[in-house]
Symmetry: C3
Subunit: 263 residues, 3 copies
Amino acid sequence: MTIPSAAIGRVLDAIRARRPLVHNITNYVVMNTTANALLAVGASPAMVHAEAEVEEFTGIADALVINIGTLSPPWITAMHLAAAKARTFGKPWVLDPVGTGATRLRTDTAFALLEHRPTLIRGNGSEIVALAGGIGATRGVESTAGEAASLDAAKALAAATGSIVAVTGPVDRVTDGAEVWSCANGDVRMTRVTGLGCTLSALSAACLAAEPAVAALSACVILGVAGELAAAATEGPGSLQVAILDRLADLDATTLERQARLS
Amino acid sequence: MTIPSAAIGRVLDAIRARRPLVHNITNYVVMNTTANALLAVGASPAMVHAEAEVEEFTGIADALVINIGTLSPPWITAMHLAAAKARTFGKPWVLDPVGTGATRLRTDTAFALLEHRPTLIRGNGSEIVALAGGIGATRGVESTAGEAASLDAAKALAAATGSIVAVTGPVDRVTDGAEVWSCANGDVRMTRVTGLGCTLSALSAACLAAEPAVAALSACVILGVAGELAAAATEGPGSLQVAILDRLADLDATTLERQARLS
Amino acid sequence: MTIPSAAIGRVLDAIRARRPLVHNITNYVVMNTTANALLAVGASPAMVHAEAEVEEFTGIADALVINIGTLSPPWITAMHLAAAKARTFGKPWVLDPVGTGATRLRTDTAFALLEHRPTLIRGNGSEIVALAGGIGATRGVESTAGEAASLDAAKALAAATGSIVAVTGPVDRVTDGAEVWSCANGDVRMTRVTGLGCTLSALSAACLAAEPAVAALSACVILGVAGELAAAATEGPGSLQVAILDRLADLDATTLERQARLS
């Protein structure tokens, strides 16, 4: 089933109309940039991780993101509490398995969180390969797995978990285990900005809250097009990080539809 | 009693002359931007939260900010230790009750911290209403309470606690429970940048250390005018966040006095 | 022994060729900017601090940075585990003793970490003086010690520990206890941007992983030249922070060699 680019534009409009509250349990590196990206695109961010309040907060949020980028034991407990609550309440939630495969703690934590059935799992090739039970040669938090292996792992992971899986890189692939949708937006210079994968996961949660059907692919297009527009007008990774926020804020459905590179 | 705009300019000059050391126990989202805002305006920031050192650090700081944006139990303990020490030493301290009303933990924590008698409480309408015992329909960390209800809550809170209360939004209001001072500076685009309320609380602490009498109103004018100047020359929330730091650094007393919108 | 500026250029090229993975246990304020600076210069950053994974991660990293800017007990445990592992594995590691002298916890923690024999200790004058056992009048995290006292302390600290010591400020000095190398690059406006000392420590770790012999001095020149180029074209501390990342990314060996101010 092909997803028309017009559907992506409608997701952006839906975010701005509904202004979903996105509950983030995320890493320290990206908290500021993620909150700003959510605000820029038209969603409402909150970073809440204390065990004593995560369940209550998941209850009032429209979507949840769990990102394991900077783990520690009390946060892992909070992640399980929040994910369980999201599942109970039928709220969409995104798992970003940062660095899965790099250390045992990350791999174990990501695996354990699967029991709460994430709506969407978004990672790079190495992370998805590692999470699918393969042997990803993850080096740090960057992707080194080949594209074909990554896509196979993504399909297997989706089939096994019932989650949508997005494996992102030069071309982003979204799969439900059977079909695959691709997005070729983005710019290679975005790899020099820290945490844009994390931003993509957060934007995916905003899309899920607004329009579940094509959420993951929409987030890839939204960030990809914003990144392309930003990269064309900036002179390095510092100004690129800033300009992506500017472009997320002034992006419109018409531009998205025109520039989406779907297949 | 009207506060003349010239008094605001003098506060800015006093910060630069005295370079107050501001001790921040604040949230992860804003640590970088808050530290940069304090440096830009001419103060000296430090982020210190370990139970083993907060009291010692409060002892050498000129003012303290406690911001409950990303709570966890050890930080709550540290907040109480630092606030108690600030009170004992007669050092000014600011409570920023982020998200009060959104979860029980936040509401309880903010209430409990009142026992240490903050010099200033700065929040948005929902937070101030919730803290005043009302029932703010806080959604995330954004303000949804009406302006009249917010001001009534601020006055009641100030009267009950002896703190100055600043309830900020499109128009910022500062009250001691009897009188009310207003500042209409700022730009609506500032709501698309995360953590500017937190920045305002930190700047308020710098003002308190430099010139207690008109500190809260001064901080509203300083950030508001910097935000207006920045918004006029930027094209989105990313570049606005950056430009606000630039404008805080080159702001002068004359510009402040000319652009202050007080009533 | 004079270090020729051509050697500095070769370090930059080596970072880009080898793309070292730098393991950071650092403070919350600078995590985003440090990760971005490492990516910009051509290294690969990771922020990993959980006790359960730090040793494993040090094992796969090429260099380690331990920065005590925002301490808490579980992080101190992780710092010791990681530093011990780096020493066992013969991997270079950098100690950034932020705020040593300001509180007992910081001074004690920095002293205790010396047992793991850091390859490099990088701090400002007050921190180095305090760590060398002197009585630095540290005010917050800024340097107030005089230049001569700082250099004497750096030499004594290097002689006592076997570490290279870099004491940075208007002129950066690197010493092995006997010889002293100096770098006069940088711009006074860089003192208005939070965490550039932390960035320098992280860049030093990247240099150590690429080319140990002249690493500390190279990092001073790299950040100093990037800062000079950035400061010449920006209008305040916000845009300076952004432009430094842009300049780190497009810096080349020829520019470094031409602009290095060594002595």
